[in-house]
């Protein structure tokens, strides 16, 4: 009997060993570079985080009995004449889409091994991203200082407006800021020949950075639709 249980333990140990070997063996899934697969999985998890923010925004907006402030008026901006509804947000949207376009081209020129154009396009992307964050800082300042919006209340309507706004746009703005730093580092490495020296001239990192950047733009598409337009 003792003999039997010993054999059983050995069997389990051997089984675990096999499972461990399977888990750590050099196997490739999805047939893409691991960096790209990992970036996609990170973006998937980020999708759930942003979804949680947007869904909680939906819940508080449905459940409040106080009218929701009209974003079209709250985010209107006047250039001397009548206020134009949502104009700053529209400009921010166009800035972000432009940056997505320059990033897509940067990936393409990276694979063509055209370092100069890749660096220029990535620098343009980072610059547009920084512009977006700057405009967001302006928007936050205007809302906090001039209009008295706070996370716990505001003069325009439902108290939950501020909390949803700061949480959602703040988290997105943080992603854009991180993206600007990320793109700057990758652009610097392309320019300085880092990938030629260390990666045998493989520029897939540019595409992986591009995935992150397009995702930031993608999230903005949803924020624009649900928070600003709804």
């Amino acid at each position: 009997m003792n003999q039997n249980s010993l054999a059983g333990t050995a069997e389990i140990l051997a089984g675990n060993q096999g499972a461990l070997q399977d888990a750590v063996s050099d196997k490739q899934i999805f047939q893409v570079p691991w960096g790209k697969a990992m970036m996609w999985i990170f973006l998937l998890s980020d999708t759930f985080i942003f979804s949680c923010f947007l869904i909680s925004y939906m819940s508080v907006r449905i459940s409040t009995t106080v009218p929701w402030p009209n974003p079209s008026e709250v985010f209107a901006l006047s250039f001397g004449g009548d206020p134009i509804p949502l104009i700053l947000i529209a400009i921010m949207t166009f800035v972000l889409i432009t940056s997505s376009g320059t990033m897509a081209l940067a990936v393409n020129f990276g694979y063509r091994k055209n370092k100069k154009v890749t660096v220029l396009l990535m620098a343009a992307t980072a610059f547009l991203g920084a512009t977006f964050v700057g405009m967001q800082a302006f928007e936050w300042t205007k809302l906090i200082v001039d209009e008295g919006v706070r996370p716990w209340g505001n003069p325009m309507g439902a108290a939950q407006f501020g909390a949803s706004f700061f949480m959602i746009t703040g988290f997105h703005g943080m992603h854009v800021s991180a993206g600007v730093i990320y793109l700057s580092i990758v652009a610097w490495r392309v320019g300085s020949g880092y990938y030629d020296r260390h990666k045998n001239g493989n520029y897939e990192t540019v595409e992986i950075a591009g995935l992150y950047w397009h995702f930031v733009d993608l999230v903005w598409v949803f924020i624009f639709a649900f928070f600003y337009l709804w």
Partner: protein, 115 residues
Amino acid sequence: MTATEGHQQHPLGVYFWVWGLLFVLSAFSYAVDYYHLQGYLRWTLILLFMFLKAGFIVAIFMHMAWERLALIYAILVPPLCLLVFIGLMAIEGEYIELGRLIAFGPAPEIISTHH
């Protein structure tokens, strides 16, 4: 074409087309607000333009259209769970609103069903 090496090289024209489309769709989204469209027409158009933009970004800019099916499934299927989550929280939200109306009555000053 399926990229087996993860090597994504496509003609530049595709990117310029999508880029242009994204601008046009964004302009349309903005127009929905600018021309004060309301009700179901507004919500339908907002969602339509949103999904078109999101689709083009994921499919072309993020190269998902050229990836292998295993990766496409791994990334695009899990977010479908969110539909259940959205449904649950929408029901919950309506229930809380109803509870608030019954217990505390309508909000002072403005009585509105718009939320």
